[in-house]
């Protein structure tokens, strides 16, 4: 949905973007680490509020609100963000909806990394027919508009958070496989890998001892950048009505249902949108910042 980071194309300014002498002044290093620290802190805060805060503080329930409370505006007492058309507290729906987003993103990326990463690693390293076949299969998935594929899968599996996760892996696994394969190919002919091969080091040892540590930073930043895309995709599913089933709250659904009241009470759309935006921006900034810091592609 949002433009994914295809392959290893760089979003960040090149890591070599420094003075001709080749080293960073203290001020710039601080800026660089701020680029990582600030979004990381914001994300940590969000995670805290979504997962831990409701356990500690009595937050009103996200569902089952009374119609008498409906349509309350922002900053109402007891309802910081107001209530929606059926009386649910928006703040609490944001928190619980955030849980969904983070859970889905984490699960999808972990599965993508594990499965897709492994596939890409093997394909890139061994080459030959295995790689060719894998690449063609991946091409099929990539030529497919991701939204449609995911939508169809959810529709056939039935709506639930778990099924949404499975459906989204159809998007993340090919993406990871592609990137891992490209990275593995680059590393494969490096002298140190060739040396290991020639010394009859076992393949799995080479893969996990040499190649994985070298592609790991790139994979991590890719995961972060991809997480943002997954959250947006998941939101798109919810928006279209195919994702998380009612009555669970999710940001996409809140935006969708707020659409009808757009001109009357825009906050119904704006509040979840802001949270969505901030989350994705932080994920992107974190991925980018780490990339610049580690000098990854």
């Amino acid at each position: 949905m949002a433009v994914p980071v295809a392959d290893a194309l760089s979003l960040a300014p090149p890591a070599g973007d420094i003075a001709a002498a080749g080293r960073l002044s203290p001020a710039r290093r601080l800026m660089r680490s701020l680029e990582v620290a600030v979004p990381a802190a914001v994300l940590a805060l969000l995670l805290f509020f979504c997962f831990i805060w409701p356990l500690v503080y009595p937050v009103p329930p996200p569902v089952g609100g009374s119609i008498l409370d409906s349509g309350l505006p922002l900053w109402s007492p007891g309802h910081i963000f107001g209530t929606d058309t059926v009386g649910n507290d928006i703040m609490s729906r944001i928190l619980y909806g955030g849980r969904v987003s983070f859970e889905v993103a984490a699960a999808v990326q972990v599965i993508g990394l594990a499965v897709g990463g492994l596939l890409g690693l093997i394909a890139g390293y061994h080459g030959g027919t295995l790689e060719a076949v894998l690449m063609r299969v991946l091409d099929v998935f990539i030529a497919f508009p991701s939204l449609v594929l995911v939508l169809a899968i959810v529709d056939s599996l039935g709506q639930s958070e778990v099924n949404v996760i499975w459906a989204l892996t159809a998007f993340s696994i090919p993406a990871f496989a592609r990137v891992t394969r490209a990275a593995t190919l680059r590393l494969r002919d490096q002298p140190f890998v060739v040396a290991a091969r020639l010394s009859s080091v076992k393949t799995w040892r080479i893969l996990f001892g040499h190649i994985v540590p070298n592609v790991a930073p790139q994979m991590l930043t890719f995961s972060l950048l991809g997480a943002g895309v997954v959250i947006i995709l998941e939101g798109a599913l919810d928006f279209l009505g195919y994702g998380i089933p009612d009555p669970t709250a999710s940001w996409g659904k809140m935006i969708a249902s707020g659409q009808a009241m757009l001109s009357v009470s825009p906050s119904l759309v704006i509040v979840p949108s802001i949270f969505l935006f901030v989350t994705v921006v932080c994920l992107n900034m974190l991925g980018d910042g780490l990339r610049a810091l580690w000098g990854v592609r």
Partner: protein, 357 residues
């Protein structure tokens, strides 16, 4: 600034073979006045560990039509000095001191003025012919671009001039070459193109930064001959930057030796090689493999490594590696002085006269 060569009576003239600068002054300059006058040039780059002092007080002059060679290892500051003369340093570099071209100060000038100066008054030929030309642009276009940057010529006239330039650098079939791409030419031919680009607006100063380092020996000789020939024809002053002493010996009239951002020795080529004074220069000379040496003998190399330019110690920067170093060398840095006529050096304990082994 005093020190121009060959212009005063009774002064030993350069005797190295092959060098024959035009000696004539360019239009508009007074005879004897320097074309390029660099005085106490200092260049610093800000970095994590502090400041990198790439150039620490370099001074030299270049007369119109003469040939100067600047010799040094990597990191000696020779390329940075050259870039400073062309105004090509990035904005992160802090330049102080004076660079006067034809009497006009370049340090602290606006970018716009520097752009007028670059390519027109002074031009540069770079090291890697493979990489100096844009691979997706035709050669002819790259030359006409240089021409039309400064000269008010129309497309057709620029085209003609470009072909003329290609002919001047002795590229065969220049009309056809105009439309070709860099990858269709060999390394030597590409370097000729780069020279053509540099000479497009008839600059009065040409800087060749390791221009022949990436070429094989035969091509190297051809390119050097070409440069010398063009220099004579056009009256251009030539500054050769290199790490190759032998090259300097063959082609330059005056030689400057740089180390760790400073000039450490300076003399006419004949004087330098005939009576070397700086231990560093002597070591460089000794390191050149020679046919007369016995086979299977270890080459005399200079021990140690070039110093870290972010730290300036109190003593002579070559002291840690100098076989003749003594206590005062480590305590105080020797200044560059003209100890003999036409021969400067910066050393407390220079080699004796005629001390080339």
């Amino acid at each position: 600034m005093a020190g121009s060569l060959g212009q005063r009576a009774g002064c030993p003239t350069a005797t190295s073979a092959g060098a024959s600068g035009a000696g004539g002054a360019g239009p508009g300059s007074r005879p004897g006045a320097a074309l390029l006058d660099v005085s106490d040039l200092r260049v610093q780059f800000r970095s994590r560990g502090g400041v990198v002092n790439a150039v620490q007080g370099v001074s030299f002059t270049v007369e119109p039509g003469r040939t100067l060679a600047i010799i040094g290892e990597s990191g000696s500051g020779k390329t940075v000095s050259a870039y400073a003369v062309l105004g090509l340093l990035p904005r992160t570099a802090q330049v102080s001191g004076s660079i006067r071209f034809d009497g006009i100060e370049l340090v602290g000038r606006r970018e716009r003025d520097l752009r007028d100066h670059r390519g027109r008054n002074a031009a540069m030929v770079f090291q890697n012919p493979e990489r100096s030309l844009n691979p997706t642009m035709r050669i002819g276009t790259q030359i006409t671009e240089a021409i039309r940057c400064h000269l008010p010529l129309g497309r057709a006239e620029a085209h003609e001039r470009a072909v003329e330039l290609l002919r001047m650098v002795r590229l065969p079939a220049p009309e056809r070459r105009f439309y070709e791409y860099p990858h269709q030419l060999s390394g030597g031919m590409r370097q000729r193109v780069v020279i053509a680009i540099a000479l497009a607006c008839e600059p009065r100063l040409l800087i060749a930064d390791e221009a022949t380092t990436a070429l094989d020996v035969t091509t190297q000789a051809q390119i050097m001959d070409l440069l010398l020939g063009l220099q004579q024809e056009l009256g251009t002053a030539l500054v050769m930057i290199s790490h190759d002493l032998a090259l300097a010996a063959s082609y330059a009239e005056e030689v400057l030796v740089m180390y760790a951002g400073r000039v450490v020795e300076r003399a006419a080529a004949g004087d330098l090689f005939g009576s070397v004074r700086m231990p560093y220069t002597r070591a460089l000379l000794n390191a050149i493999p020679r046919v007369e040496l016995e086979p299977h003998v270890l080459l005399p190399v200079i021990g140690g490594r070039p110093p870290d330019l972010s730290t300036i110690g109190p003593g002579c920067s070559f002291a840690p590696r100098c076989p003749d170093a003594q206590q005062d060398c480590r305590l105080q840095s020797p200044p560059l002085k003209q100890h003999e006529f036409g021969h400067w050096w910066a050393c407390w304990h220079p080699c004796g006269k005629g001390d080339v082994q």
